[in-house]
Amino acid sequence: MNATSMNSTSMTTTSLTTASLTTTSLDGTTTTELSRLTGETSDRPGDLRLVASQIRFEQRAFWRNRSRAFFSVGFPLVFLVVFNAINGSHRISELGGISYATWFVPGILAYGLIMATFMNIAVSTAIARDTGILKRIRGTALPPWVFLAGRIGSTLVTAAVLVGVTLALGVGAYGVTIPTSTLPGLVLTIVVGTICFTSLGLAITCVIPNADAAPAVVNLLVLPLTFISGIWMVLSGAPVWLDATAKVFPVRALAHGLQHAFDPATTGIGVEWGGIAVLTAWALGGLVVCLRWFRWEPKR
């Protein structure tokens, strides 16, 4: 028996003998009789099939956990409704008199995407690491990259749901128009932004010491950036240094990219290439951090 004999990928020929399995309790009576314990034999499962099945299991677990689903997806929608109730009748003079919703919907979409990707994957991965789920998975035959691909894939599905609901609400309830000529900019910003914040969500778990600290760390990073990135209010009077600071971070790049695509005054295909570059850089940075420092076991 040696390792090389097992390296072949064709493992189809494993046949299992029928065994009789009996559980005998102390007084000698038979409590369980499994007379036909035959293994179902098949190929080593294909990687892509495994990724798809991991996404399905992750999605099922995600939506079943109501509080987790609410904080990732429902929370931003609550802000959408509340802020529109307060400011819905305003027009924004600094931006050529567009309706409040036309400015606010893309901003809250950015915030929602950050919650559904960054916060969602960071907190749930920190919990999975603390409770030992990651360690248990690491001890199975599931390739680690397949597990992470399943998590990332599931997060992307959740993000897609959030985009759909937010836009439907914006159009249906607040009279926002989905841009047509700038649609490429909208789609590209959503795709790159989602990938960026998913990557950063996994990367931040390398820094988060334990599951209890996860929401605090995430909020500490996200909330101040959303304020200086012009999601909650128009920052026409902000000092230059603050704006320059915000431009370094991906929150502003995502929010501005979306606001730019929704702005009726925007010409061309609506892509803010500078912002796309910032998002891409952060996405790659997150990936490097994950590859170097991702931990499968809790720090004790």
């Binding site: 390792a3 097992m6 599931l142």
Partner: protein
């Protein structure tokens, strides 16, 4: 090759602290082998090296012909691991979790058979979140065996169980062995080792201090038998039974404690002489007992002098990033 697991001169240190200094043992295919020792003795470190979680500092290990540190997917397809306290996806049902872990292996048991084996058949549609502690532990076993592993690692499988649940789980582990599965068990319960293991290695202070069958561990099968009884004070001097020294200790209530030590093989003969003498001289032997050292006596003798105070990390202190 009949050895499923081979460990020779294994050592592991975390910085200056030594968790395992020199451990060697070998486990045959189909055998239940138990690492028995106090907390912090190096059991979990040894097991986690064999499971592929930790890098060893020195020595050689082989599991099913693989080096666990580099065995990767082909190795993990053939082993099953039951870790100490370990979470699982709480929002899925029992059947879903079993199906999920089954999907990782090239061959699998049917879900129906697995839940019957671990007696969770009434819980298949329950969320894992709603299981009791004992039920979760049985689910841990289910997830480890669903891929039909050839070697199963059980790290303290019954810690925290009530006595009835422990007996139940022992029966379940025995039934796994009937499938020909090799089992490496760690425990600090002597009765568990005695009930399940074909062979036991006692580990203390990062070393194997004794190895053998539950009956023969530490020379237990060759140890002396002690025959004890009380006799009335002032009884005439005793004959020398089988030329053995006879100890008489003063005890309360006008009685004396009689203690005879003899080789295990002479027990019947010495006892016969003693009771014959007692009948002939009309002496009543009170509280007559015949005892051999228990596994616990042997274990405590083997482990009591070991310094157990050195700090031995049980998880990944020293930042071993698993990737």
């Amino acid at each position: 090759m009949t050895a499923a697991i081979e460990v020779s001169h294994l050592s592991k240190s975390y910085g200056s602290s030594i968790a395992v200094s020199d451990i060697s043992f070998s486990v045959a295919v189909g055998e239940v082998f138990c690492l028995l020792g106090p907390n912090g003795a190096g059991k979990t470190t040894t097991t986690e090296i064999l499971e592929g979680y930790r890098q060893r500092s020195g020595g050689r290990v082989s599991v099913l012909g693989f080096d666990p540190a580099t065995g990767g997917r082909a190795f993990r397809e053939r082993i099953g691991i039951v870790l100490q306290e370990c979470g699982v996806q709480d929002d899925l049902t029992v059947a879903e979790v079993i199906d999920m872990y089954a999907s990782y292996a090239p061959r699998r048991m049917r879900t129906d058979d697995v839940v019957e084996l671990v007696e969770l058949d009434a819980k298949v549609t329950d969320r894992v979140r709603h299981l009791s502690g004992g039920q979760r532990r049985r689910l841990d076993v289910a997830l480890a065996v669903v891929g039909l592993p050839e070697v199963i690692f059980l790290d303290e499988p019954t810690t925290g169980f009530d006595p009835a649940a422990r007996r139940h789980s022992w029966a379940m582990i025995r039934s796994l062995c009937e499938l020909g599965t090799t089992v490496l068990l760690t425990t600090h319960f002597m009765d568990e080792a005695q009930a399940l293991a074909d062979r036991i290695a006692v580990i203390a202070g990062g070393e194997v201090v004794a190895e053998g069958t539950p009956e023969g561990l530490g020379g237990r099968d060759r140890a002396q038998t002690t025959i004890a009884a009380t006799i009335p004070r002032g009884t005439a001097p005793l004959p020398a039974f089988g030329a053995l020294p006879t100890a008489i200790e003063q005890s309360s209530d006008g009685e004396e404690q009689l203690l005879l030590h003899c080789p295990a093989a002479d027990t019947t003969s010495v006892l016969h002489q003693l009771t014959g003498w007692a009948l002939d001289s009309g002496v009543e032997l009170g509280s007559l007992s015949v005892t051999r050292p228990t596994l616990e006596d042997v274990y405590l003798a083997l482990t009591q002098d070991r310094p157990d105070t050195r700090s031995i990390p049980t998880t990944n202190e020293g930042q071993e990033a698993l990737r």
